[in-house]
Symmetry: C2
Subunit: 269 residues, 2 copies
DNA sequence: CGTGCCGTTGAACTTGGTCAAACGGTGTGG
DNA sequence: CCACACCGTTTGACCAAGTTCAACGGCACG
């Protein structure tokens, strides 16, 4: 039987489900599992609307394709995330989606998910909660792309991905699996691969993180958090998360300023 | 009695409501109207969650405040838009919101809106549809901030605002009310006011639009659309909208490339 | 052992930011 | 009525972050 550990792990923080609800969701995805290699399109712009996908393993993304070959990733999906819930009213996709790593997901017809959500109101609430967190992440991306420097944008995304991995039960301490390449990172942050590379080198040499062979370890989370002006509250982490224990005491009121000890590093604006 | 013309006008395109539903919504906002001068905060980061606001007249926005005084607008609200629907699960706001122009809105407790949505499923569906369009707008903002030049970003926002004004029944042809200043425009597009000014001048001198005293007239919508690589489909306009009649025949598959006649203009990337 | 992708590095270039000052309309008080 | 302050817009000069182009190295894979 297929299990939904990343999804349950994520929900346990704020919207825990009972045994019945878990069983209902698990039953929903029975015999609906699909697999896809890395870097394959799930759908492209103009395609008919597709069923909902619950990510079981691997990463995926939504992106906007440009005529000149460039692209912009607009949303990332980690295990436990739900794709396409917000597209029930359009007939055709206005964007594309692809796998980042090898992917395993459940393809659930909208009608079936709706039926389960009606039968178990807690599931309906959990879906709404998940959508509201996704919207909060969108707002943070806009903030990041609009006003942060390249260094801060990359740092912010690493912070976000660490916390999201941890929520899904996929991080060990401050280490997590990072299936994106530097090109993907640039497509998500609106940066060239060259700039991504230079920035990652900077973060590495500043002792903030290590990244080798798909494994990222955040070596100095408090400092990375400060540099990125990252405030994890929008992700609504479980209050007992070990990551929150070690967080730097930035006031919640206003986006944190970088500390004086970061002034010497270039590109930190 | 207060009417909700902008909201109904918006919904009429894709999710029209019957007389009963309209009356129910109208009754909901009775005696709940509020007024606010321009540039006043509705709430700030850290505030307790507030009831839902249905914009009746004027513009508002959500924004992220930085410690150094800069800010990033992450969402714009026009008449007929609904604020705060996606915040029902958090206790504290993770961002701020303020009026742009003088504002008139209805302050509706979430419980009452939910009750009406349960009683009239069409209203519930309409709310979901509205949220899905808001999410699509978010994705377009990310695309815009991530990969478009300053000229394209500004042009894209003008296109979006024209279409959204038209949907709300607030545009006459290609003319609409624009209560944002150039500083606000920069805060929404992640640009400095200086750059906004130069860009607006460029668009003006290219004969693409006129903007005087809060009134914007798009003089050459097809060309502005092409320059901005704007595809209106994500806004889910009513199929009979006059704006769609005049649209340039960009293929829906791939974001349009700027035409050759725009190559001579600077900053069009 | 070639081939291709990804990461890395250097150099020239361009966009947009920063700083500073002037301009123009509007409201206010003398 | 005029002087003044204030606010948003406009303009110029300079600067810096990030892009583009190009080449090279390493590693995986066929």
């Amino acid at each position: 039987m297929i299990v939904l550990n990343p999804l349950f792990s994520k929900l346990d923080g704020k919207m825990p489900l009972g045994q019945e609800e878990r069983a209902a969701l698990a039953g929903l995805i029975q015999s609906k599992a699909r697999r896809l290699p890395a870097r394959q399109d799930l759908y492209v712009e103009g395609d008919a609307i597709s069923p909902i996908r619950i990510i079981l393993d691997g990463w995926a993304c939504r992106y906007e394709q440009f005529a000149d070959g460039r692209r912009q990733i607009v949303e990332l999906f980690l295990p436990g995330d739900i794709m396409g819930q917000d597209c029930q009213f359009v007939e055709r996709q206005d964007h594309s989606a692809c796998s980042i790593s090898a992917l395993s997901y459940a393809l659930v017809p909208r009608s079936e998910l709706d039926a389960v959500a009606r039968q178990f109101p807690a599931i309906g609430q959990a879906l709404l909660w998940d959508a509201s967190v996704a919207a909060a992440i969108h707002r943070q991306w806009i903030r990041s792309l609009g006003r942060l420097s390249a260094t801060q944008r990359i740092a912010h995304l690493f912070c976000e991905l660490l916390y999201r991995s941890a929520r899904a039960g996929l991080a060990r301490g401050t280490t997590f699996d990072m299936p994106m390449g530097q090109r993907d990172l640039g497509d998500a942050r609106g940066l060239s691969t060259v700039q991504v590379n230079r920035t990652v080198q900077l973060l590495r040499s500043a002792g903030l993180l290590e990244w080798r062979r798909r494994i990222v370890e955040i070596s100095d989370l408090p400092r990375l958090t400060r540099i990125a002006m990252f405030r994890p509250n929008y992700l609504e982490l479980a209050p007992d998360s070990e990551l929150l224990m070690s967080r730097s005491d930035t006031g919640p009121e206003i986006a944190a300023r970088t500390g004086p000890e970061d002034r010497d590093l270039p590109l930190f604006r």
